[in-house]
């Protein structure tokens, strides 16, 4: 991986992290009307995966999807404005934190139904194949979603039809209060790939270099028409399931331990060690991300709410 890529990955991770922390504050201050599911601690996955994607590649994502959207190219201000229910948000305030779309950058939707985006990404891959392109589709989903029927049916279909879809399972060890070992009797979800007839790999999702490398292979396979891949990224959900979740079902020690494996700390140390950046360049990058996020928050703040009547636009209401 060249130095520019290394630095770009760090930059993406920082932008995602800062945006999420900003939303946590905005939620506390009552500027976000509904508790959001934040992505802190999982940034290496969005960054490492999306770095391989072109503008015309597509993703589907989850209730925890802000980071995926940013990494795929959605301007932070469009995301924050949507999550704070403003007219200038990426969906005009109709979607909100769990329903973010921006087709022009390949964000084909984050969903509130667990597993709901997996078949959609599969169909996006089908279209890409039928249209004779070398585009790829990516579906992000959690360890919890991997036990839903939508996962099984989609992976079989994609393998059967050799679709250019990459399935990214972010195993953050929890699905709400249910720890993965209480929902899933196998140690690695990655091994399920072989059951469907596709490569299935498990990587450390807090190490962006590992994520990046696994995705490199998967994307090449997808673009070459060889079919889908399942990548499991092991990570940890640092915050509660949603803002305000006390998460008493796990210990403080466990969370503190996980914080020591912070993906940004890891990558920063790596880049300082190999001379790609210095402490000063890191500070500058961090400040730049802060500034972008502060501007985005100010944009959202200054934006109007949508008109009430606009609720009925596109609704299918026959009246």
């Amino acid at each position: 991986m060249d130095t520019i890529t290394q630095i770009r990955l760090l930059e993406t991770m920082l932008r995602v992290r800062k945006a999420e922390l900003q939303l946590a504050i905005m939620y506390k201050n009552g500027k976000v009307p509904c508790a959001a599911h934040l992505y802190e601690g999982q940034e290496a996955i969005a960054a490492g995966i999306c770095d391989h994607l072109r503008h015309d590649d597509c993703i589907t994502s989850t209730h925890r999807g802000h980071g995926h959207c940013i990494a795929k190219g959605m301007p932070i201000k469009k995301m924050i404005a949507e999550v704070s229910a403003k007219k200038t948000g990426c969906c005009g305030g109709k979607g909100g934190t769990m329903h973010l779309f921006m087709p022009e950058v390949g964000v084909m939707g984050t969903v509130g139904i667990v597993g709901g985006g997996i078949p959609i990404a599969t169909g996006i891959g089908l279209a890409m194949k039928m249209q004779n392109t070398d585009r790829v589709a990516v579906s992000f989903f959690g360890d919890g979603a991997a036990n839903n029927g939508s996962f099984h049916e989609s992976l079989n279909l994609a393998a059967l039809w050799k679709l250019p879809v990459i399935y990214i399972c972010e195993n953050n060890l929890y699905a709400t209060s249910v720890a993965v070992w209480r929902s899933t009797p196998i140690p690695d979800i990655g091994i399920r790939g072989s059951a469907y007839g596709m490569p299935g790999v498990t990587v450390d999702g807090n190490h962006v270099d590992e994520v990046y490398a696994a995705m490199e292979t998967a994307v090449a396979r997808g673009r070459a028409g060889e079919g889908p891949t399942l990548i499991e990224c092991k990570t940890y959900r640092i915050r509660g399931h949603f803002e305000g979740d006390d998460a008493f079902y796990r210990t403080k020690e466990e969370v503190a331990e996980a914080r020591k494996r912070d993906p940004i700390d890891y990558w920063k140390a790596h880049l300082i060690a190999n001379g790609a950046i210095t402490e000063e360049t890191f500070e500058a990058m961090s400040a730049k991300a802060d500034e972008e996020v502060a501007e985005a928050a100010a944009f959202a703040d200054a934006s109007p709410y949508p008109e009430p009547e606009s609720a009925l636009l596109l609704s299918g209401n026959p009246a």
């Binding site: 305030g93 209060s177 009430p308 009547e309 299918g316």
Partner: protein
Amino acid sequence: MARRIRFVEALREGMRQEMERDPSVFVMGEGVGPHGSCFKQTENFTNLFGIDRSRDTPISELAIAGAAAGAAMMGMRPIADLMWIDFSMLAMDQICNQAAKLPYISNGQVKTPVVYRMTTGKSKSNAAHHSGSFYSWFINTPGLKVVVPSTPYDAKGLIISAIRDDGPVIYLEHKLLLNNRGEVPEEPYEIPLGVADIKREGTDLTVVATGAMTVFTMTAAQKLEKEGVSIEIIDPRTLMPYDKDTILASVRKTGRLLAVDEGYRYCGFGSEMVAMTAENAWDALKQPPRQLTTMHTTIPFSPPMEDYVFPNPDRIADAVRSMMQS
């Protein structure tokens, strides 16, 4: 009867007492174990009954719903928690094609006494995938009963009846009502399924309302009272089968019907009330029967839009006023 507890506590107490009484009753669903469910509906159950009888599941709605039906056929009495009514759509085949139909197609040789519990309705900016009121989907499935309590008292009595019922029952918990308080007896009691409750007596107009709409209509009724309009509020409590007699008796008395329904107006519970009243009490009606429903739209996220599409006490009062004027 002085004890006042919250809706969610009443529901929990009803389930707990049934689990104490009958070892075949158990709960399963996402997060019903040690965490005690999203809204604490099964708080402390794993301490009382163990993780087998308050059983966490993977996020597998189809399997939860179907496994509950299968276990029920074998003599268990599962309470399957599907969290949000919106997620029940992933389980529709097992609820509507299997649990609902197996007793009929087997000619009565098997029974499926499952309670499918889910939260329903509007909350605060829960948006497109977490705000549904799809009970009419279930009303439209022969073989299912559909229960929507609006008070803590009803929540307890109806969950007990639902558990004891020998067929599948959809039990809906409105998110806006979970923390409401009301008087609830400590001992177990049943509220028969299919029996309405007159939540407020009145003379000028009958409102049939369910779930949170019952509470909204109570608020509207107080305003209207000051304006000299007296409305009678009927909460059917069970939407299938519903209490035709009580509703018709009220409409015959007042001569006016307004159905307030958080579901949609087309082929919904509200339109059923209008149709049923027109069919059976035409002669007694002073006014065409009307319905006030959620607008026919996916539920938007942003508060101004969200507020725009749902019935609220002011809109209910306006609808009543317009029916009284003309």
